[in-house]
């Protein structure tokens, strides 16, 4: 069957999915996820990945482990991912508090605009830019992911695949966070955790005789521990230290006019440039939406100073262009970061980690080049179910975009109240919910203790300025890396130099050292 049949089947898998409450279930789930995402994004202290992590086990309990479960579950998670970036702008504009880290730059112009009585307009600009960036990024994803996958499949043999994984990890470790050395330590710890009880011997290595470790560290325990518990521990300690809150006064959205055609024409170049920046950054593993927002904002600022009319406000004084540049950049990361996920199976940020986790837990869909093989390699007369699934995922993303353009803006303007929920009440509840979610998956108290342990590790890493993301991504890729290397070694007839014998593999290895050295020099004291 050709590409077209797969696309049609993928679209139909979404539109004709089993109806629930009269709506196809996938569309219902995308909508639910999207609205939840906006709400969560608008709540300072909560972020998209947190909601994704907690939702995942509940979703799996509802939909089970069958192939039919994949699209509703991924649809919901994708909805959260997209909603959260939109929602993050709400408290940034109304309370001067970013709802998600990548919305920090939005406070710079959003809150001043709100103070001038233009809160509603600021929210409209944020929403328009966010939705534009997001849609652009998704289009790039749909166009690029299949080609990248085909290239990988055609030119990369086992040694090259090993080298590519090494390059991704080297890139992630040296780019995230301020310190290359700490990034590499974080990655090393993640790899080490992935080594426990894995390997090919029947003896579960590095378990110190603990039978609780014999199955390895549950992915959820390590990932949720470091990412969520670590963050909650730190946030609670910050509250513990703080004497009283110093929040900026809230501003209600009030009235405001719709954006005019002239407004849009004026904003369009900023949105376009930022969307491009965000998409490029999103496609690279490890460089997150916060950096995209920063880059988008600073690039726009440079442009703006050169061209702004005298009467217009400066960046930082409530310039609409500042909001547009930030929100377009951070929202355009979410589509592009699925390029490495779907074509290589490599997650680039925390949201992608949870999508991979979902695919992994449900099974039946293994992200990587094989997903894009026509006929699944089985025969021309047969559909590749994984490829149908990919087009189903793409369709869900565009459903989310359609929602964003239609009801996203209205909903966004109604969730401002979320920022008033006190964190010291909310975060402990999030924590119990996370631990319960892990328990229902693992059904063992040992898994809870491990999660708490990794929570302390994540807390410690944050306190010493070590980014936890290389840990998480290395933990997820670690087993794959070791297995691929073993296979490459065996397949080449036990050649110890398998990483250096082919030009592509050698190039990847040289680039890995290059990226570390470059970032190290850049961070010179």
């Amino acid at each position: 069957m050709g590409l077209w049949e797969h696309i049609v089947a993928g679209v139909l898998a979404v539109l004709l999915s089993e109806p629930l409450l009269g709506v196809p279930v996938v569309i219902l789930m995308v909508s639910g996820g999207f609205l939840l995402g906006i709400t969560v994004g608008a709540t300072p202290g909560l972020a998209g990945p947190m909601a994704m992590a907690i939702a995942l086990p509940i979703l799996i309990s509802i939909f089970g482990f069958s192939n039919d479960a994949l699209l509703p579950v991924l649809g919901f998670l994708i909805g959260i991912m997209k909603g959260a970036t939109v929602g993050g702008a709400v408290p940034a504009i109304l309370f001067n508090t970013p709802g998600t880290p990548d919305a920090y730059m939005t406070t710079l112009d959003g809150y001043p605009m709100a103070q001038k009585g233009e809160a509603k307009r600021a929210l409209r600009i944020a929403h328009f830019s966010s939705a534009s960036g997001d849609t652009f990024s998704d289009i790039v994803l749909v166009v690029c992911a299949p080609f990248l996958a085909i290239l990988v499949e055609r030119y990369l043999d086992l040694p090259e695949k090993t080298a590519l994984l090494i390059l991704s990890l080297a890139f992630i470790a040296s780019v995230i966070g301020g310190s290359v050395g700490k990034g590499i330590i974080s990655m090393g710890l993640g790899l080490l955790a992935a080594m426990i009880a894995t390997g090919e011997d029947f003896y579960p290595r590095l378990t110190m005789g603990q039978s609780n470790l014999a199955e390895g560290i549950p992915i959820a325990a390590a990932v949720l521990g470091v990412l969520i518990l670590g963050e909650v521990f730190k946030a609670l300690e910050d509250l513990h230290r703080q004497s009283g809150s110093n929040a900026s006064p809230e501003i209600t959205p009030g009235k405001g006019s719709a954006l005019s055609r002239a407004d849009l024409r004026r904003l369009f170049p900023y949105v376009g440039r930022s969307a491009l920046i965000g998409t490029c950054i999103g496609a690279l593993p490890g460089v997150g939406s916060t950096l995209a927002a920063t880059l988008g904002y600073t690039t726009a600022k440079r442009r703006y100073i050169a061209s702004k009319p005298d009467y217009a406000p400066d960046f930082g004084d409530g310039a609409a262009e500042g909001i547009a540049a930030t929100e377009a950049a951070n929202s355009s990361v979410s589509g592009a970061n699925l390029i490495p996920v779907l074509s290589l199976g490599i997650p680039g940020n925390a949201a992608a980690v949870f999508l991979i986790l979902a695919m992994d837990s449900i099974g039946g869909f293994n992200p990587g080049p094989s997903v894009f093989r026509l006929g699944g390699g089985i025969g021309d007369s047969v559909m590749n179910p994984e490829m149908v699934m990919v087009f189903g995922i793409f369709t869900s993303m565009f459903v989310a975009n359609a929602l964003n353009w239609t009801i996203g803006g209205i909903f966004m303007r109604s969730v401002g109240f979320m920022a008033r929920i006190p964190k010291e009440r909310l975060l402990p509840i999030v924590l119990l919910l996370t631990l319960t979610a892990i328990y229902v998956q693992e059904t063992s108290m040992a898994a809870i203790w491990m999660t708490v342990f990794f929570g302390f590790l994540g807390y410690g890493m944050r306190r010493v300025g070590m980014s936890p993301l290389p840990f998480v991504i290395a933990f997820i890729l670690g087993q794959n890396l070791e297995a691929t290397a073993r296979q490459a070694f065996a397949a080449t007839g036990a050649d110890p130099f398998f990483l250096f014998n082919s030009p592509i593999a050698l190039a990847f290895i040289l680039m890995s050292s290059g990226v570390v050295i470059y970032n190290l020099r850049k961070s010179a004291p």
């Binding site: 089970g64 482990f65 069958s66 192939n67 499949e153 043999d157 086992l158 009880a197 894995t198 090919e200 029947f202 003896y203 579960p204 039978s211 014999a214 199955e215 390895g216 837990s361 449900i362 099974g363 039946g364 869909f365 293994n366 990587g368 080049p369 094989s370 093989r373 006929g375 699944g376 390699g377 089985i378 025969g379 021309d380 007369s381 047969v382 059904t443 297995a483 073993r486 296979q487 065996a490 397949a491 080449t492 007839g493």
Partner: protein
């Protein structure tokens, strides 16, 4: 008179109800609480789906609460270790493959897993294990493959240490050397063969559709008998290897289990494999249910375990 009739009717009704109850739970045995069903396979695959359908079927037919739980890794040894210390009262069972209690238990000597520690309940289905390559390699018989292997080492994909041993012996018997690439699971062998990372490999039924459409070829049967789909392909014995990859999905419980519980659980699983929702799935994916039970199963598990050390000796 009316009263007598009424009593009679009531008694009759009661006896029907109790008879139905007895049929529903076999020998009249009932678990003391929910039954934990350990699944030794990754979520979402054919084996996992089979186990979960059987759990649903049992629950629907008997009303016992069955709670599936994944314990994966080390070829089923992890699942067996988890099961070993559970109470032997029928509230804990596991689905593994016969290889877990055979070769893998023997190879994991330190883990302390022996067949006598477990009570076998029943097998559910066998594997159609073949040696498979892509059709566009142009090999129409196993002899073609060997000719190609003499030109340069071929990559042979396997999914367990036992199969790696068999691949090695197969090469040795045919006077060639394979680069044996061991991966996790049949799906990974399939992907490796498709992507060209491997030239040929063992597949345990997953190749069915591809062979039917002519994109894959069953070069040989890894079983003691010919493959159902490709009866002309030689068996490993025909190719000079005295071992085979015969294997089944099997349900086991902790050893020392009371007979009533063992019989009731076996009956419930057999019923699900033959007539439940699971039976349709087993038919489609594994070519029909195979339910070896009781002493026959015990003997099978014991002999697999003992044969393992011979195989390990042979590859030294």
């Amino acid at each position: 008179m009316k009263a007598i009739l009424k009593t009679f009717a009531l008694t009759a009704a009661l006896s029907i109800v109790s008879a139905a109850g007895a049929v529903a739970d076999g020998t009249g045995w009932k678990p003391s609480g929910p039954i934990k069903m350990i699944i030794a396979f990754a979520a979402g695959g054919g084996a996992d789906t089979q186990a979960r359908l059987i759990a649903d079927d049992i629950q629907a037919a008997t009303g016992w609460e069955v709670i599936p739980e994944q314990v994966t890794g080390k070829g089923g040894v992890n699942a067996l270790l988890a099961l070993k210390d559970m109470p032997a009262d029928g509230t804990a069972i596991a689905m593994v493959v016969t290889e877990s209690l055979g070769y893998n238990a023997a190879a994991a000597g330190n883990a302390g897993i022996v067949p006598s520690d477990f009570a076998g309940l029943t097998t559910t289905a066998g594997f159609q294990m073949g040696v498979v390559a892509k059709a566009d390699k142009g090999w129409s018989s196993f002899a073609d493959t060997i000719a190609a292997a003499k030109e340069g080492n071929l990559r042979f994909g396997t999914m367990s240490p036992k199969l790696s041993d068999l691949a090695f012996l197969l090469g040795e018997a045919q006077g060639v050397e394979f680069n044996i690439v061991q991966v996790a699971g049949g799906k990974a062998v399939m992907n490796g063969v498709q992507a060209g990372d491997m030239d040929l490999g063992f597949m345990a039924g997953i190749q069915g559709k591809g062979v039917a459409s002519g994109d894959l070829v069953n070069l040989a049967s890894a079983l003691s008998e010919p493959l159902v789909q490709t009866p002309d392909a030689p068996t490993l014995a025909d190719l000079g290897v005295q071992f085979n990859a015969d294997g089944y999905f099997v349900f086991v419980a902790p050893g020392g289990m009371d007979t009533a519980a063992r019989d009731a659980l076996t009956a419930a699983i057999v019923e699900a494999a033959n007539n439940g929702k699971a039976s349709a799935m087993i038919e489609k994916a594994f070519g029909g249910a195979v339910t070896i039970q009781g002493s026959e199963l015990d003997a099978l598990l014991q002999s697999d375990y003992e044969a393992a050390s011979e195989l390990m000796q042979a590859v030294q």
